[in-house]
């Protein structure tokens, strides 16, 4: 029912005009009973910024105060609180719906013919923002309409795709906080204890307490509704927290479902016992014995921090903090092993149960595994000095001969074809002449003059020249590159030209062979851009200082060569096309005659 009998007040002091408040699709309409009064009101729900209302139980009448974006406030006085709450709920729903719709409108405006989603565009902007070089290229080509958006991004799918792949592949783990153990909110006034239940909490409860999960599968929806089930469960929790074991025992005796929640978890106990059985028998399990449901209750801290001793018959209604923490930790370490949509509680429960079944089946010890365990046990329990001497098979030590390394380097020398005999003779002769030289110098002494002055002068001159030209070409630091010596602006320009020419050439060569007119126009545009680049390169070469000019032209040459090749190809292709079309039309003319 979306019509209410209300009194409309424009301010608190106003006495209020009676009328009917109607809530329709997106519009709140107030029609006064008195047709002559002119306080008709029409409020669009998107305009409503917030709503305030008076509390039940206070002496004031049920008022609903709506304030809109312009700052006005409208107060409606309802006949009773129920109406007011109903209206409020409907308005909230409508507001929520409005907010959803809002972002969709600008999306409709932005959608181009290719139907991009908002996420895609955002991704593109992000990538562009992060990579300045890419941004520059984008600005140069896409905004001057040389390339379209799509073509630009077509080769960069990797950049765009990676993010989305990354997002979907990440597995979310479990919280290490025990959300299932959060204390409820208590309202002293109304004597209500409110437990919050989200799907996360439900998942945790099902994962940690298999008995609860089993009970859910058994009881819902056959015996009780989900709401009742959770109510019972939380009643059990509440009973635990009150430490009142007598009451707990009493209630358990009455209500068998409640008893399920109150007694210790049998399924867990069974799993624990199986696990213990499978552990290596030589491991000391004394400490672990206390962890699970098989331990004694007379020591340890209870769930709420007290250390009272408990009567044995009510012992089962107590849980210790340690138990809960350990169980929670075990579940968190196992991780989230189901991918089921968490909306449907039942499906979550069933999926978890299935997983447990599978793991139980895997874990069952086979005969071979048992044999292996026994063998291991006997091995570890043996006493060393009573054993027979064991002769293990020894692997022989292999130490390589170091000569192999040196000789392998000598082998397979490239042999130049030379007559062996002649070489031997040459060697002999050569040694002979060498000896003669030494004899000569011993008798004659050092040359006099050692060096002619002209020769020395020539040497000096050539050395000076070598050193000075080398300094010019290389710079003071031999490991410095030519690019560093250019002024910064020129250097940036050269690098930018390099990347932009690469981009242009990539698109140019990929459009050949030309089959459609789209490609034809694209190639035309690319060619214009390329000739533009070419002339820019020429201009840059002119502008730089004379001493750097040669090196710069060497640097720029490969770019120009690539562009030249592209131009050539373009011209040749164009020629071929015109020739073909001329022939074709001539042939046609002939044929049509």
């Amino acid at each position: 029912m979306s019509d209410w009998q209300v009194k409309y007040k424009s301010s608190l002091k106003d006495r209020g005009t009676e009328g009917i408040l109607k809530l329709r699709e997106g519009i709140l309409l107030f029609v006064p009973n008195d047709p002559t009064s002119d306080s008709k009101l029409k409020v669009l729900t998107p305009n409503i910024k917030s709503q305030k209302y008076t509390k039940e139980g206070s002496k004031k009448p049920a008022w609903l105060n709506l304030s809109n974006k312009q700052g006005d406030s409208h107060i409606f006085e309802f006949q009773n609180y129920q109406d007011m709450h109903a209206c409020r709920a409907l308005i909230t729903k409508a507001l929520a719906k409005c907010e959803e719709e809002q972002p969709k409108k600008p999306a409709a405006v932005l959608t181009s013919a290719e139907q991009l989603s908002i996420a895609d565009l955002e991704l593109r902007f992000k990538v562009l923002r992060e990579n300045i070089e890419l941004q520059r290229l984008h600005k140069e080509f896409v905004e001057t309409k040389v390339l379209t958006e799509d073509e630009f991004w077509a080769t960069r799918k990797k950049l765009l795709g990676k993010d989305s792949i990354r997002k979907s592949k990440q597995q979310v783990g479990l919280k290490s906080m025990m959300v299932s153990g959060i204390k409820p909110s208590t309202d002293g006034r109304t004597n209500r204890v409110t437990f919050n239940l989200t799907s996360e909490i439900i998942f945790q409860i099902f994962a940690e307490k298999p008995a609860v999960r089993q009970a859910f599968i058994n009881y819902v929806p056959s015996k009780m509704t989900e709401k009742d089930f959770w109510t019972k469960y939380f009643r059990a929790e509440y009973l635990y927290s009150t430490k009142n074991t007598a009451v707990a025992a009493a209630e358990a005796a009455e209500d068998e479902e409640l008893a399920v929640f109150l007694k210790p978890d049998e399924i867990l106990a069974q799993e624990a016992r199986q696990k213990i059985r499978r552990v290596d028998p030589t491991l000391d399990m004394e400490a672990d014995q206390g962890d699970d449901y098989t331990h004694l209750m007379d020591h340890g801290i209870q769930r709420d921090g007290t250390m009272d001793v408990v009567e044995p018959q009510n012992g089962q209604f107590r849980r210790s903090l340690l138990q809960d923490l350990n169980r929670h930790a075990a579940v968190v370490l196992e991780g989230r092993n189901i991918d089921v949509d968490s909306e449907n509680t039942r499906s979550v429960a069933e999926a978890l149960a299935r997983v447990k079944q599978v793991s139980k089946a895997d874990g069952e010890t086979t005969k071979d595994a048992n044999q292996e365990r026994l063998a291991r046990m006997s091995r570890l329990a043996e006493m060393e000095d009573l054993q027979a001497p064991q002769n293990f098979p020894l692997a022989p030590l292999s130490i390589k001969d170091p000569r192999d390394y040196f000789e392998s380097q000598q082998g397979n020398v490239v042999n130049e074809p030379r007559g062996a005999g002649t070489l031997k003779r040459n060697v002999h002769e050569a040694y002979g002449s060498l000896k003669e030289s030494i004899l000569e110098i011993r008798t004659k002494g050092l040359r006099d003059p050692l060096i002619k002055p002209e020769v020395a002068f020539e040497v000096f001159r050539s050395l000076t020249q070598t050193i000075s030209t080398a300094k010019n070409i290389i710079g003071k630091n031999p490991r410095e590159s030519f690019l560093d010596r250019l002024p910064k602006s020129t250097r940036d320009e050269v690098l930018h030209h390099w990347t932009s020419i690469q981009e242009l050439l990539k698109h140019f060569w990929s459009s050949y062979p030309i089959t459609t007119t789209y490609l034809h126009t694209k190639v035309g545009k690319l060619k214009d851009a390329m000739s533009n680049s070419y002339s820019q390169l020429e201009a840059m070469k002119e502008s730089v200082q004379s001493e750097l000019r040669h090196q710069l032209s060497l640097l720029v040459r490969p770019m120009q060569q690539a562009l030249d090749a592209a131009f050539q190809h373009y011209d040749a292709d164009l020629q071929r096309r015109t020739a073909k079309s001329a022939r074709g039309s001539a042939g046609e003319a002939n044929g049509s005659v």
């Binding site: 070489l423 060697v427 040694y431 002449s433 050092l446 050692l450 020539e458 040497v459 050193i467």
Partner: protein, 303 residues
Amino acid sequence: MASVASKLYSDDVSLLVLLLDTNPLFWDTTSTTFSQFLSHVLAFLNAVLGLNQLNQVVVIATGYSSCDYVYDSSLTSNVSSESRGARMPALFGSLLEKLEDFIGRDAELAEGDEHVDRIASSLLSGSLSMALCYIQRVFRSGHLHPQPRILCLQGSPDGPEQYVAVMNSIFSAQRLMVPIDSCYIGTQNSAFLQQASYITGGVHHAPKQLDGLFQFLTTIFATDLHTRGFVQLPKPVGVDFRASCFCHKKTIDMGYVCSVCLSIFCEHHKKCSTCGSVFGQSKLDAANASSSVNDRKRRAPDS
């Protein structure tokens, strides 16, 4: 014999280890005779010894089949016994004597050598190793020692079979911080010497006119290490970084590299011969042609 500790070593004291190329096959082919060459070199050694009282010079002869120390200026028995009509400065009498003996021994070794079919290179790796050993001994002699450097006077071409040994010596010299200067007087380019000077921080020069060799030597190679900080010495425009492959000793500039020990091969192998690691098969089977599992190394001469 006055206590060595009392001598104060200033920055410019140097120990020069000269590697002299006495490969007969090379000297046979050059226009300059060995005697002319020797006179330039001996005068240069004199000049170096004259620069500082504490300078030392060691000469190692690099022969065709062997290497040997022929001169050490720190030894006192340098004066030759020969005195009849000798025009040679007495200082170098023993050097020449030892050189002659060395060449005789080298000739004998060459007679017995079966590997006659190899490039006429001298044993650069051997003499580099000997120089480094001497320098290491000097380092270990105490705190006070001259600053050592190696000067390589080479004319013979590079022997690719010595690539590994030469590179090892170069890296040891780099470790010891001993610069290797090189003066190449042959006709072709020597990649080993260029790399040696580049890696160790020495000077490389290939003089064109051999009759001005003395001038080259004294201008470029006589400066000690400390002074080199203030003097501009000629730098090569580019360095030839070509390597030789480990299997055939060919000089290559594109080949296969083992990713474990960085040995270089010119063709695909199943197993690395240096470190024994087995190379995988997958990509080679897929792409029949020239791609391989190892990285491809490409080195191009820069000059």
